[in-house]
Symmetry: C2
Subunit: 233 residues, 2 copies
DNA sequence: ACCTGAACACCGTTCAAGT
DNA sequence: ACCTGAACACCGTTCAAGT
């Protein structure tokens, strides 16, 4: 086995936080959350696991950085010329699509605290809040309105990640939805009356449109009548 | 060391799925998600880790069962005599309080697919849907309305779990909120104009009331005008 | 300063062997 | 039928030693 010693095909670039995070995103996209391992990452980067710790404090930070890398481009959009409603819809759809493309983001995003400055969570909150102000929501209700929109987006994100995971086992999407619809229709007619009723709507169902409709529902609630929402005396 | 051999104080009951799940909930409550370990669980139940696998297929099922055990009592409430709005608020608050008491539920709940029958997720969805029907929402919009409410509840659940985790490091709640408010006010005035504006509302802030206000916002959107929500041409 | 890779202290899960 | 506990194949993280 006489192997010619030659310059390797691609030169070994030095390790860097950037390269590590990029490799982590790739790993998460291809093998999912369970696949992100310091050993697997090290192999991809042609080093030992210890080397990664020189650039990153640990797995928590690595995951946060990966999420940041996916969400940041979403926030790059420009809102000038759009109505507040349009801007909110565009932002929400951006987050939705990003999570659709990277399901692992949906799993963890909702678990990020809004507290640290510059966190992707807080940046989305800020963007939403500006549009809420543009809607002329009274000051006292702005926090509530922005929080409600954010919570809804995060909730859908989580559900979507769960659905993607569940659907991945099934090859084709329509077949999967049909299977769920059938299962729903076979539920107990008394205990699950509503679910059975709406089972039929599942087939024609478009996740993206459904998501947007929910956003519009909240926007309608925000702009309708008294914005503090409570119905009490 | 002459130790008298006597009947142990509490008789060793036989292992059962019930006892295992109860111990898991206790473990999750006291040591958090990271603390739920087959070894720790086995120690609490005075057995080896292998014994647990006779009653439970694995960790995923165990966690699902633990969540089920927490959510099921919430669904026991009776809605008779309440308006649909009141019933939805009561249910939502029930879920909120359950997650407040067991933060680990919030972390995982949103990740549960709605697909398997009898899943806690689906049962909450069913309960919400009935009240949506009672609100006389047109059939075509019922799915959207119920999904929106559920997604919002799940989103808040996740955020709440994250906040609880973040706050746990800090001893007292007001001090923690003050610290966050201060941090928010020190953010860049251009990049974080909205967040800085609402920082002041954080101190007086009541998570439960805020959550309910969000529910009311969505309810207002559902009942206001055209229930399919879209504003298009 | 940055990288290496063996070593440590854990995991979930399996399974032969016991009762 | 049910339990035991050693063993397997992993983890994240650390750290002495190298360059």
């Amino acid at each position: 086995m006489a192997s010619r010693k030659s310059r390797p095909e691609r030169r070994q670039e030095p390790l860097s936080r950037e390269r590590i995070v990029a490799a982590a995103v790739e790993l998460l996209d291809t093998v999912g959350e369970g696949g992100l391992t310091f050993r697997a990452l090290a192999e991809r980067l042609v080093t030992g696991p210890g080397a990664i710790y020189w650039h990153v404090t640990g797995k928590t930070e690595l995951l946060a950085a990966a999420i940041d890398a996916v969400i940041t481009p979403v926030l790059a959009g420009d809102d000038t010329g759009a109505t507040p409603q349009e801007a909110i819809r565009a932002l929400a759809l951006g987050v939705f699509d990003a999570i659709d493309a990277h399901p692992w983001v949906g799993t963890t995003l909702a678990q990020l605290p809004r507290t640290p400055g510059k966190s992707p969570m807080l940046r989305v909150f800020e963007r939403i809040g500006r549009q809420v102000q543009a809607l002329h929501v009274p000051e006292a209700a702005q926090f509530t309105a922005a929080s409600a929109l954010l919570s809804y987006i995060l909730g859908v994100a989580g559900q979507n990640a769960a659905n993607t995971r569940a659907a991945r086992a099934n090859p084709d999407r329509t077949a999967f939805l049909d299977a769920v619809a059938t299962a729903w229709r076979e539920l107990d007619p008394v205990e699950y009356a509503f679910t059975r009723d709406v089972a039929g709507q599942l087939r024609a169902h478009d996740d993206r449109a459904e998501f947007l409709a929910g956003i519009d529902l909240i926007l309608a609630g925000i702009t309708a009548g008294r914005a503090d929402g409570r119905t009490g005396p």
